[in-house]
């Protein structure tokens, strides 16, 4: 079909995300500058300036207001977008919980960056991980293409009437945000076929007036929270369903809640999230070529947590090495903890070795990935595992 072919371009994941927001026909954007997110909203501003996009850009005075304004736009019944990083995400914290409890289908891109102090503008995932319990669906991406595709999918997931929860698409600062990759930018018609116009539910409707986002005592409060938990659990199915439908239209499939890579017969498996998966994939290929039984699991959904999928994938594995780009101080990396909880009760669970690395933008080179997998291969069953900092 002439004029409908997707365009291929070398762009950063930030630019890819901006294209996704444009293609999603977002009508209100509210954002505040912060490195390494800023080029997303700069690109959106240029789309609006050039007439390629028809939207209101609210230039707010803070991230707290950015997320609030997006929530306001949803209350008025229109699709909204924001993006942020690090301190900005921290500053949004109150509104993150507010918007999920209010059941607003917000979508944001978080360009993962370390959190001060110590001050650093470089990448890790501490910012996103610290928002784990705010009720947002958190999906991590590996490439610029996946970031674009997942922002489009996020609108379908969030706005699904079975879900009505906000979705945060995480991409890694600099590795994704500032690195150009070849990206296929879908055409508008195909996106329109995939993503229908927003059909709002929780709104300020003068023709059907409600007090929305109100409060309640014990029993009522608990009932709303239970509904929220049920919706978050239901999101596991919807994320898979939407991913499958996306693949049918666009031909790209990312594997649902997790992507298992070469885990058949693996003795040791490395688990991680985000852009470092790319390096890990190469290391697994190399070690497999050497005859070593290793595999990789890319955790795509952090919330809802794919506990059942991980139990199944790891039921025959001897040891799992977890690379966290975050730390829950006084314990260990968050993914390691969640994985251990997911494996609890398995008849013959794998040992879990926690590694913390890639903090503050530190590179995690292939040798380090190999080291983690070698450690996992040689671990004795039931060996204690406390988090090891691998950047030092």
């Amino acid at each position: 079909m002439p004029g409908k072919a997707p365009v291929k371009k070398y762009i950063t994941a930030n630019e890819a995300v901006a294209h996704a927001a444009r293609l999603a026909r977002v009508e209100v954007i509210a954002a505040y500058p912060i490195t390494p997110q800023t080029s997303i909203v700069e690109k959106l501003a240029s789309f609006i300036a050039s007439g390629e996009m028809d939207a209101d850009f609210i230039k707010v005075e803070s991230e707290h207001s950015a997320l609030t304004a997006c929530m306001g736009a949803r209350m008025a019944g229109v699709r909204a977008f924001t993006s942020t990083s690090s301190q900005g995400l921290e500053y949004m914290h109150e509104m993150l919980a507010y918007s999920s409890g209010g059941r607003y289908p917000l979508v944001m891109a978080n360009v993962c960056r370390s959190v001060a102090l110590p001050w650093s503008i470089w990448g890790d995932q501490q910012d996103a991980i610290q928002q784990r319990d705010t009720g947002w669906i958190q999906l991590f991406t590996e490439t610029a293409q996946e970031a674009l595709d997942m922002v489009l999918q996020a609108y379908r997931i969030a706005e699904d009437h079975r879900i009505l929860l906000p979705v945060m698409i995480c991409l890694d600062g600099f590795i994704q945000s500032h690195t150009e990759e070849l990206v296929e930018i879908p055409d508008q018609e195909s996106v329109d076929a995939f993503l229908p116009p927003y059909d709002p539910v929780v709104t300020l409707d003068v023709d059907d007036p409600h007090s929305i986002s109100v409060g309640g005592f014990g029993k009522h409060y608990a009932a709303w929270r239970k509904e929220q938990q049920e919706a978050a659990e239901r999101a596991k199915e919807v994320i898979v369903e939407v991913g499958d439908e996306f693949a049918r239209i666009f031909g790209r499939h990312y594997g649902g809640l997790i992507e298992a890579y070469r885990i058949e017969g693996a003795q040791a498996v490395l688990l991680t999230m985000g852009a470092l998966v790319g390096t890990a994939r190469e290391v697994v290929d190399e070690m497999r070529a050497e005859g070593k039984a290793v595999g990789l699991i890319k955790v795509r959904a952090f919330r809802p947590f794919p506990a059942e999928e991980l139990r199944q994938a790891l039921s025959q594995v001897k040891a799992a090495a977890v690379l966290d780009r975050d730390c829950s101080y006084g314990y260990e990396g968050a993914l390691a903890t969640d994985l251990k909880a997911a494996l609890y009760g398995l008849a013959n669970p794998p040992a879990v070795l926690g590694f913390i690395g890639g903090l503050g933008g530190a590179d995690v080179p292939p040798e380090r990935m190999r080291y983690m997998l070698e450690r996992a291969l040689s671990v004795k069953k039931g060996a204690p595992s406390s988090a090891e900092f691998i950047d030092l």
Binding site: V28, A55, V60, S62, T68, E94, V206, V214
Partner: protein
């Protein structure tokens, strides 16, 4: 505007507000002007506390509770959304208390005015954090005791001048009012509703519980605030301030103070000093 022509429809009923609450009255009066084609954003304050507990919903128009610091930004987002949908006819109203306006919400309010979106931000001012138990706010007047400025250490800073703060943003329309002057207030709400941009109304709302006076005196106390010069009714429009009501009689500020428990500790010389300041500012 005449009393006989004011809408008889009651669109705010059966809140859990205290008997004689002027803030509740302010909501009621606002809705008499704006009617059903309006939506309300109410951050943490007395009005959300007395209006938002399921299943009681005293607002007969759409409303949302909002985070304390977020009123201005919510108004922008909603206003932008309605604009996108071609529904700029809907009045988008913020109803925030003094702390939510002058303290925790001042940044968001500033950003919202700066954005240029159309909304009416109403600050109902009962001069302290009443809903949490009468703590001092940036709008507590000099000389008042609160639970965080207990006697003898009464509030020793002047009330923030919100009108000059919003005026410094070149806001198209702003006004002060008092619930004891309902027609003046309602006229200002009506005027604000016709402005295609951000507007701000600061309405003094006497609080029997927090100020320490019997509930039947709510209207009288507000009148005394204006007659004593502790509060002025004015407008800011086209870059100019204008007094909209000059009291026929000027009342000594001592009478206003005597009527309320929160000023009882003031000594004669302190009252005289305040009186001199009021006289000098007229």
């Amino acid at each position: 505007m005449k009393l006989r022509n004011v809408s008889k429809e009651e669109l705010y009923r059966c809140s859990y507000g205290c008997a004689g609450c002027a803030s509740v009255l302010a909501v009621r009066l606002t809705l008499k002007v704006l009617g059903r084609n309006s939506v309300f954003v109410v951050p943490a304050n007395c009005i959300s506390t007395v209006s938002c507990y399921y299943p009681q919903a005293p607002f007969f128009v759409p409303m949302t509770v909002m985070a304390f610091a977020a009123t201005g930004a919510a108004l922008c987002g909603i206003s932008a959304g309605f604009k996108r949908r071609g529904r700029e006819d809907i009045h988008v109203v913020g109803f925030s208390g003094d702390g939510g306006t002058a303290d925790i919400g001042i940044q968001s309010l500033s950003g919202a005015i700066d954005s240029g979106y159309k909304f009416i931000y109403i600050c109902y001012d009962n001069e302290a954090y009443m809903n949490t138990g009468i703590q001092r706010s940036g709008l507590t007047p000099y000389g008042a005791t609160t639970s965080t400025t207990p006697s003898p250490c009464f509030e020793n800073r002047p009330k923030k001048d919100m009108m000059r703060i919003v005026a410094a943003h070149d806001i198209p329309y702003a006004a002060t009012a008092c619930t004891s002057y309902p027609l003046d207030y309602m006229q200002k709400v009506e005027k604000a509703s016709k402005v295609n941009g951000p507007t701000y109304i600061h309405v003094l709302a006497p609080c029997p519980t927090g100020w320490g006076f019997p509930p039947e005196r709510t209207i009288e106390i507000g009148r005394m605030a204006v007659e004593s010069g502790m509060w002025q009714l004015m407008e800011f429009e086209g870059g100019e301030f204008r007094i909209t009501h000059t009291p026929r009689r000027r009342r000594p500020v001592a009478e206003y103070f005597e009527a309320q428990a929160r000023f009882r500790h003031l000594r004669l010389e302190e009252i005289e000093a305040i009186q001199r300041e009021i006289d000098a500012s007229r």
